[in-house]
Amino acid sequence: MEVVEKDKKQELKEFIDSVKNKEHGDSYLIAVLHKAQGLYGYLSREVMDTIAQEMQIPTAHIWGVATFYHYFNLTPPGKHVVSVCLGTACYVKGAPQILEAIRNELKIDFGQITEDKMFSLQIARCLGACGVAPVVMIDDKIHGEMTPQKVVDVINQYRKAEKKQ
């Protein structure tokens, strides 16, 4: 575990090093935040502090960016991360209704985590599965051709599986 944390830190630092001296280095902040979220699952204060120091961008600015975009998570993810694709294909096939159904079922908004810490909700852009749009990804499993009812069924399957354990 220790080693893994170190690796993540190293990978993030290397990524920052690769962009920070480019022209308009600051404009890579969003890319860096994505990278950090990819590595850690969310943006913790410690990670944002590190990014601030490495990129020499004030924390108040980083916080402004991190809170502006819905796709950044500021709290630790739940056991299962539910990502609703809002890419164009999914959107026109009814992703907003899917999102609504999930919000109602889990009683959380994106960037939040359920009280039992089982699920957290985030928004994704095209997940590369447009053929089966609308798409919801739970952890790294794609669930295609969702409907508001189906997505609730899927969530319940995860709940059941969790209870069995």
Partner: protein, 591 residues
């Protein structure tokens, strides 16, 4: 030569410089277009759209603060439609704004209130969704109340572009946008230096000073206490504005009289302690020069600068003068020597500092400034608070008979007076250092190279063939720019003065709000306040700190000599690095 163009405003032709915005051109022609997010010293945000005008041939109304001129432009600032559109914009702001005016700190001093009045809004049609956030009361100095925020962004730009601190940002989006420190952390834990410049530029009561007036009234009513006040130089230069006078009136005598009427037993002058600071600081500087101590030496009297230094430049701690600020030196003497003189237990003395500065509230609570286990300065009230107290107590400030300061800490030299202006501490210190070093009298004591309002000023004097190079910065953004030079080239200067606020203390975060027809931190206003102090210096017969007989007496009776053991105990201190570490903004605009 600047290119000229012909435009018309409301049907009248004008010949104006091309290189300006519609708003600037209109200003120069005598049309004051309403505005909110615009501030001449900050970058243009174009957020509020209160400043819209109609330009013939353009489909939409245009934000005049952000739009350049072109030849032949036909501008309308006051048509029926424009007036309506502008009014709608302001009404929309009010829809989300609490209906709090008569219980609000800015009642009567509020730009939003004035704007609504000027737009002719006489009743509120819609009640939109209101904001409900907690006030952030954590800071010693600055209160944040997001409910009153109209998101003009002036505070964020001030903190970023002029102060270079970057304590604030806009978080979240849309209706949920809130101005806050990083991570929504309590203000007190953020990089905020407590300078109060966000208060100065905020058009509403979304930023206000931490108010100590009730506490002070309570102490003033307590007969078992001896109430001692001291007044900072720049308070007298600005306090009149709080009573409707134009900037630049020196109201020293009136302030003394009003404080006595409020119930203070002794009214002393921080200018006296400024003279004391100069003796210590000039001596410290000479000691560093002669004994090859750490140079450049950097002044330490600006409280916001000290917090900034601890967070942004801890590598320079050894360069910082160990002298306490005049306020803290004065309070230290009040709680020791003065207490002995009047035979009162210092625990029964309330030492109150009337300051131009919100950061002094922070300074007063610093543990490293305690004297014999006591807080040396018990209460700091800023100019605005004292204005309110004088009014609230029904004292006729404008017609009051001026009175003199009390002895022994009431007499000051001209050098102590100019402490309130950027460059003044340096000038005062050099007047004394020169004489202590050379034994000769410095004839030309007005050092014009370090006067004025440039962000960074440099100068030099020669003492016994030795060239002393000095630099002066006002506003923390300028301080940053100067210190980057010092980091790279530590030999360049011997002595540096830094003031945290634009213009020095006269532009402090506790000074009266801008008048109805003015803007906060208007250069003309700062100049007038500065002139009030410079002319006071010229009028004084004693213009050098070491010539102040009361200072000489204090050394003879109590301190011994500058840098004595007693001085070190009471008048000097040391600073430590402070978390969170600051990251200076890259968007600093020198002023």
């Amino acid at each position: 030569m600047d290119e000229k163009v012909t435009i018309t405003i409301n049907g009248k032709p004008y010949r104006v410089d091309l290189d300006q915005t519609i708003m600037e051109a209109a200003d120069s022609c005598g049309y004051h277009i309403p505005r909110l997010c615009y501030h001449p010293k900050l970058s243009i945000e174009g957020a509020c759209r209160v400043c819209i005008v109609e330009v013939e041939g353009m489909k939409n109304y245009i934000a005049s603060c952000a739009y350049p001129l072109f030849d032949g432009m036909k501008i309308h600032t006051n048509t029926k439609e424009i007036r309506q559109a502008r009014r709608d914009i302001v009404e929309l702001l009010l829809d989300n704004h609490p209906e709090d005016c008569h219980v609000c700190e800015r009642d009567g001093n509020c730009e939003l209130q004035r704007l609504a009045y000027a737009m002719g809004i006489r009743h509120r049609h819609f009640a939109g969704e209101r904001k409900h956030y907690h006030k952030d009361l954590s800071s010693t100095s600055v209160i944040r109340d997001p409910d009153k925020c109209i998101l003009c962004g002036r505070c964020v730009r001030m903190c970023t572009e002029i102060q270079g601190v970057n304590a604030l940002g806009q978080a979240n989006r849309g209706f949920n946008t809130v101005v806050m420190p990083a991570y929504d952390m309590p203000f007190a834990e953020s990089v905020c230096t407590t300078c109060g410049q966000c208060i100065n530029v905020c058009p509403t009561a979304s930023f206000v000073e931490k108010n100590h007036t009730q506490e002070l009234f309570a102490k003033l009513n307590d007969d078992s206490l001896v109430k001692v006040a001291q007044i900072a130089p720049s308070v007298r230069a600005a306090i009149g504005e709080g009573f409707g006078l134009p900037p630049g009136k020196n109201m020293e005598g009136q302030t003394v009289a009003a404080l006595r009427k409020l119930g203070f037993n002794y009214v002393f002058d921080t200018q006296f302690s400024a003279d004391l600071t100069i003796l210590e600081e000039a001596s410290e500087f000479l000691e560093r020069v002669q004994e090859k101590g750490k140079l450049p030496m950097i002044t330490s009297c600006s409280s916001a600068w000290m917090k900034y230094m601890e967070q942004f430049y801890p590598d320079l701690i050894e360069n910082i003068s160990t002298c306490k600020s005049p306020m803290s030196m004065g309070s230290a003497i009040i709680k020791t020597h003065f207490a002995e003189q009047i035979k009162v237990d210092p625990k029964n003395i309330v030492s109150v500092a009337i300051m131009c500065c919100t950061a002094k509230k922070y300074e007063a609570r610093r543990p490293e400034l305690m004297v014999n286990g006591m807080q040396a300065t018990d209460i700091v009230a800023v100019t605005r608070e004292i204005v309110w107290m004088i009014k609230s107590a029904g004292i006729d400030f404008l017609n009051i008979k001026p009175e003199e300061f009390d002895s022994p800490m009431g007499m000051s030299s001209g050098a102590g007076t100019i402490f309130g202006v950027t460059g003044g501490v340096m000038e005062a210190a050099l007047r004394t250092a020169y004489e202590l070093y050379t034994g000769e009298t410095l004839v030309d004591i007005e050092l014009s190279s370090i006067r004025g309002f440039d962000g960074i000023k440099v100068g030099s004097i020669t003492m016994d063939g030795k060239e002393i190079r000095v630099a002066v910065a006002n506003g923390l953004g300028n301080a940053h720019n100067l210190l980057e030079i010092v980091r790279k080239d530590p030999e360049r200067y011997h002595f540096i003065e830094i003031m945290g606020c634009p213009g020095g203390c006269i532009g402090g975060g506790g000074q009266p709000y801008a008048a109805a027809n003015s803007i906060p931190l208007d250069t003309g206003c700062l100049k007038a306040r500065a002139e009030a102090l410079y002319s006071n210096d010229r009028k004084k017969t004693i213009r050098r700190s070491h010539d102040n007989p009361e200072i000489q007496r204090l050394y003879k009776e109590f301190l011994g000599r500058p840098l004595s053991k007693k001085s070190h105990e009471l008048l000097h201190t040391h600073y430590k690095p402070h978390e969170p570490r600051g990251i200076a903004s890259r968007k600093i605009r020198a002023i």
